[in-house]
């Protein structure tokens, strides 16, 4: 049930932002008076209009005027949340809660963000408090239930879902959440019953059909499972979890060709779907196609590793939201998976927290280089040279990038400076790596003959370094081409 684990339900507190903002505006009108009031009202209006910068400035004015005004801190949190900066939002919500500790909606909001950030323990504490404060609110109980589900406290999650259902029996997602909870706990009969109740209320609930199919498949009732799963994808053709479960059921039926097609569709819809790729490998193995199986298995292993690293980075961010390291890690994972936009966003988040962070610059520089974004890469390397003045490779790369951009004069100067530093090092210490770097600079300068000599010196000093031979070949190829 990996796929259902990704999104078992929607949390309705997020589904009604306009109504929520109106409520906040009304609260401002009837609440605080004085210098902060106008700023607060301006802030909420700007937020409602999507003017995040204005909203931020207004809320900051409100905080300055009245530091203990919880709604001002809450406003900043909402702005940060809309801006995609969950870590900052959590900080503002927690400040707001210092001043208004019994505000259920604040506990819900921060609880959901903490749960997303895999700070499960803190998330559960906030949401439990919210449920205590607002015990008749079904949405709060659903949010609490989902956090319990994520921390894998299934009996408590089931109880919270049941409470939500008692308060709001028509809410389909609560029934689906309860079904998912029973499914994960291995209570298959209870899961099927919960999904059935969801479908009684909304026959078009594709997630309920999917969950029902998954539960039936785990009971070994594959034909019925496939019927439910096909219904799910009929209702929503791009619902990946249903394709995964179809693959599982088909695999149990030893229908490996169709299982591969189902898992393949799941991976089309979610490129990170390691379980589907792993099962494609297993299907190929059963079909005797070992080469394809091995290839799929290797790909799945890479996806698993990336997901593990992603989880680690996310957890790190949740725990240390003001540090850049988690975002650097996140950027590295996205870059590895070819998700450039997400990687750039992550590195930029890191630089917001520490503008001169070396690792973020290196990651961003590599990303731009690999994408052929020369101007952007040059800008990053310009900063990197100041951050790591002794790093010869950075200087040489910067020089080459400038040359690519037609900035010949500056390129020449940068490379000449690198040459001066590294030639002194190489001739003084005589270390293999110094000669290797010297060769690199000479290569960047286009002096291929001298680069060859320097590289040969590096190889004489360290004949077993595996990368040197390849570099010598590269230099010789450039030399031959230049002649």
């Amino acid at each position: 049930m990996h796929a259902l684990a990704a999104a078992p339900m929607k949390i309705s507190t997020r589904a009604t932002p306009v109504a929520f903002l109106l409520l906040c505006l009304m609260a401002v009108r009837v609440g605080a008076q004085g210098p902060a009031t106008d700023a607060l009202a301006d802030g909420w209006r700007a937020l409602q209009a999507g003017q995040l910068l204005n909203a931020r400035q207004s809320f900051m004015r409100a905080v300055a005027a009245s530091p203990e005004e919880a709604r001002a801190h809450e406003g900043l949190a909402r702005v940060a949340e809309r801006d995609g900066d969950a870590a900052e939002a959590i900080g503002h919500y927690e400040t707001a809660l210092v001043h208004a500790p019994d505000t259920a909606r604040l506990h819900v909001a921060v609880g959901i963000l903490l749960s997303d950030a895999r700070e499960h323990g803190r998330a559960v504490e906030h949401l439990r408090r919210a449920a205590d404060l607002d015990a008749e609110n079904a949405a709060t109980w659903r949010a609490y239930a989902q956090a319990l589900w994520r921390i894998e406290w299934y009996p408590r999650a089931a109880a919270a879902y049941e409470r939500a259902i008692a308060l709001e029996p028509a809410e389909v997602w609560a029934h689906i959440g309860l079904g998912d909870t029973h499914l994960r706990a291995g209570r298959l009969d209870d899961a099927v019953a919960a999904y059935d109740r969801a479908l009684e209320r909304d026959a078009g609930a594709y997630a309920a059909h999917c969950g029902r199919g998954a539960a039936l498949s785990k009971r070994g009732e594959f034909d019925d499972a496939l019927t439910s799963l096909r219904q799910a994808v009929t209702l929503r053709d791009d619902y990946g979890p249903a394709y995964y479960e179809m693959g599982v059921a088909l695999q149990h039926q030893k229908n490996y060709e169709d299982a591969i097609r189902a898992f393949g569709r799941a991976t089309q819809l979610n490129g990170w779907d390691a379980p589907s790729v792993m099962n494609i490998a297993r299907c190929y193995a059963r079909l005797g196609k070992r080469g394809l199986a091995r290839k799929a298995h290797e790909h799945a292993a890479k996806l698993q590793e990336a997901q593990s690293d992603l989880a680690t980075a996310t957890a790190y961010i949740g725990r240390y939201p003001t540090e850049p390291d988690g975002y650097v890690g996140l950027g590295a994972v996205y870059a590895r998976m070819g998700q450039r936009a997400e990687a750039i966003a992550a590195y930029e988040q890191a630089l917001e927290r520490k503008p001169r962070d070396v690792a973020a610059h290196v990651g961003l520089g590599d990303l731009y280089l690999n994408a052929g974004m020369i101007a952007e890469a040059a800008d990053i390397h310009r900063v990197l040279v100041t951050l790591r003045p002794g790093d010869i490779e950075t200087r040489a790369m910067f020089g080459m990038l400038l040359r690519e951009l037609g900035e010949d004069e500056e390129s020449h100067a940068v490379l000449a400076e690198a040459h001066g530093i590294v030639s002194a090092r190489a001739t003084q210490s005589g270390g293999a790596n110094d000669w290797n770097l010297f060769a690199y600079v000479l290569y960047a300068q286009g002096d291929y003959a001298a680069a060859e000599t320097a590289m040969q010196a590096a190889i004489r000093l360290n004949p077993i370094e595996p990368s040197y031979a390849g570099r010598l070949s590269q230099i010789r190829a450039a030399l031959a081409a230049s002649r």
Binding site: Y154, G186, R187, R286, H297
Partner: protein, 572 residues
């Protein structure tokens, strides 16, 4: 507890054949059988540690510093060290933390208890010379020198030990001379004839590359906790090939079974694809399980991912500990069970033939094992009805788990699952006697007929606690207990496959060393026979390829089968 060889009255239990014929059976009879089978009220395990004379207590040296090595407990072995026909018990102990100044090794010595045959045991450790004082973890047994006396191999943190049974009630520590010293952190081990030369080789799993210098404490929800395997690298396993002269050679690299990336805690030597040679399965904690398929040329290929036994049904590695191989569904093919960490169900891999397996854990009713941290395990026929039931020893590793996880506890209940045949396994723990009710931090578990009454008893080694000796008092069906004596094959008969037919009943078993979690069970092969009073056909396929076929073997007794000669003795 009737003496061995005395025929037992078969109880009114359904055989597998009966179940298949229920549809055509008389209605009244069917109703009776259904009541008996579904109720599960007659599975009964009685806690007899106190009256057994076994005063062993496991100690793991915990000081509150939360050393990782303290978490995994130790195993135990059931074997007949003095060839008197009664199973003896060997407990591995850990002791104080290695490397600590002033360490008192004697406080954590292993102990051997001799079975007096009257329900009591006597500590014979000192006379036998097997009181290893290292930080012990696991044990396996096999007659590596083919002299007719079972020998002991002990794993542990810092060192291993091979005890050669002299046959006079004492053992010699031959670790160095035999060349089987394993340093660092070895866990599970098993003997098996991996090169098919008639003597027993030895596979030893290593866990993590943890040292006292690298000790650190982890945190969960603000609580200090033991760090888990994810904090440390895995360590390489070791394969020793028996030269046949009392010494072994390290063939790990040559055979390509390094297990470098694995964090091994469970080892089975088994023939997963029935191609006649022995393969190796390693249950790993947090890394994919490994299945080394014997390529027949002295090398092995890792195929767990290929055949579907590397992790759960989504291909995720689990925190695997214990392992066993048995035919739970009566299709004549041996299936795998692997026990796992909390929130990871215990996995049943159904053997689909051709070397392939399918994860059917939920289908057979094991999907609800999520709250448990599971260790020792075995498929065994608790009620002699011909169906393999399942025992799982449980216990968390974090002593303070309840402080931050309200769904779990440190001490947990062991579980017994009754095999209902087509309906899969049903948890009958609550009704299976007082032996199943205590909450403990279970780890190793070994299985065997301690009192020679024809059913399988259980010994559980608990972390930092006294063990549980659970006498099987179930009023069950008929049985046959088979003691194997190899001739061309290894003397222990390890690796032999037994197939029995009794009426409609078909049972397949393998004799093996090690298994479960860092433990070793009775080498005699136990076969539950339901209502049958005679085994119509019994076939023993030895590792040498020799097949002994026997007809019309009376039930409810112990028989000794000698390779190439068939039944040569009955009774103890």
């Amino acid at each position: 507890m009737p003496a061995l060889g005395v025929p037992m009255p078969p109880a009114a239990r359904p055989t597998r054949g009966n179940q298949h014929c229920w549809a055509t059976a008389a209605l009244l009879c069917v109703a009776c059988l259904c009541v008996v089978h579904a109720a599960g009220a007659d599975l009964a395990f009685t806690h007899i540690t106190a009256q057994s004379g076994v005063d062993f207590r496991h100690v793991d040296g915990r000081t509150g510093d939360l050393h990782f090595v303290e978490t995994i407990g130790s195993g135990c072995a059931l074997f007949d060290y003095d060839n008197d026909g009664w199973l003896d018990i060997y407990f591995v102990n850990a002791g104080e933390m290695p490397g600590r100044e002033g360490r008192d090794g004697a406080a954590g010595a292993n102990r051997l208890y001799r079975n007096a045959g009257d329900g009591t045991f006597t500590d014979v450790t000192d006379a036998a010379g097997v009181g290893d004082t290292g930080y012990g973890v696991g044990v396996c047994v096999g007659d590596y020198d083919n002299d007719g006396w079972e020998d002991i191999f002990v794993t542990g943190y810092g060192a291993s030990a091979l005890y050669r049974n002299r046959g006079d009630g004492a053992f010699d520590d031959v670790t160095e001379s035999a060349g089987v010293y394993v340093d660092r952190w070895s866990t599970a081990a098993a003997f098996g004839d991996l090169d098919a030369d008639g003597d027993l080789d030895l596979y030893v799993a290593r866990y993590c590359a943890w040292t006292l210098d690298e000790h650190r404490v982890c945190h969960e929800h603000g609580n200090e906790v033991y760090c888990g395997p994810e904090e440390y690298d895995g360590d390489a396993d070791v394969l020793f090939l028996n030269r046949g002269d009392g010494t072994f050679e390290d063939a790990t690299q040559r055979a390509r079974v390094t297990g470098d990336d694995g964090k091994g805690l469970g080892v089975l030597i088994l023939d997963h694809d029935r191609d006649g040679d022995e393969d190796i399965y390693v249950a790993c904690d947090g890394t994919p399980n490994l299945l080394y398929s014997n390529l027949g040329d002295g090398t092995f290929g890792e195929v767990a991912w290929l055949v579907g036994t590397d992790g759960d049904d989504a291909g995720n590695a689990q925190g695997s500990m214990g392992v066993d191989f048995g035919d739970y569904n009566g299709d004549g093919m041996l299936d795998l069970v692997v026990t796992n960490f909390q929130r990871q169900y215990n996995t049943i891999y159904r053997n689909d033939g051709g070397g392939f397996f399918a994860d059917v854990s939920f289908i057979v009713g094991l999907g609800r094992t999520l709250p448990d941290v599971s260790w020792g395990t075995a498929f065994f026929d608790a009620d002699n009805d011909g169906w393999a039931d399942l025992f799982v020893a449980n216990g968390h590793i974090q002593t303070n788990i309840a402080d931050y996880d309200p769904t779990s506890t440190y001490r947990q209940q062991n579980r017994l699952y009754r095999n209902t045949g087509p309906s899969g396994f049903v948890d009958v723990t609550a009704t299976a006697g007082d032996g199943l009710q205590p909450l403990k931090a279970g780890r190793g578990a070994a299985f065997g007929d301690l009192d020679n009454d024809g059913d399988v008893d259980i010994v559980v080694s608990n972390a930092n606690d006294a063990p549980d000796i659970l006498r099987n008092d179930t009023v069950g069906g008929s049985y046959l207990l088979v003691d194997l004596v190899g001739h061309d094959s290894n003397a222990s008969g390890i690796g032999a496959e037994l197939r029995a037919a009794a009426g409609d009943l078909r049972v397949v078993k393998e004799a093996r060393s090690g298994g479960s979690y860092v433990s070793h069970s009775d080498l005699r092969v136990h076969i539950g026979l339901g209502l049958a009073t005679t085994v119509d056909a019994l076939e023993v396929r030895w590792p040498s390829g020799i097949v002994d076929s026997m007809r019309d073997v009376p039930a409810n007794r112990l028989i000794r089968v000698v390779e190439g000669a068939g039944i040569r003795a009955e009774g103890p």
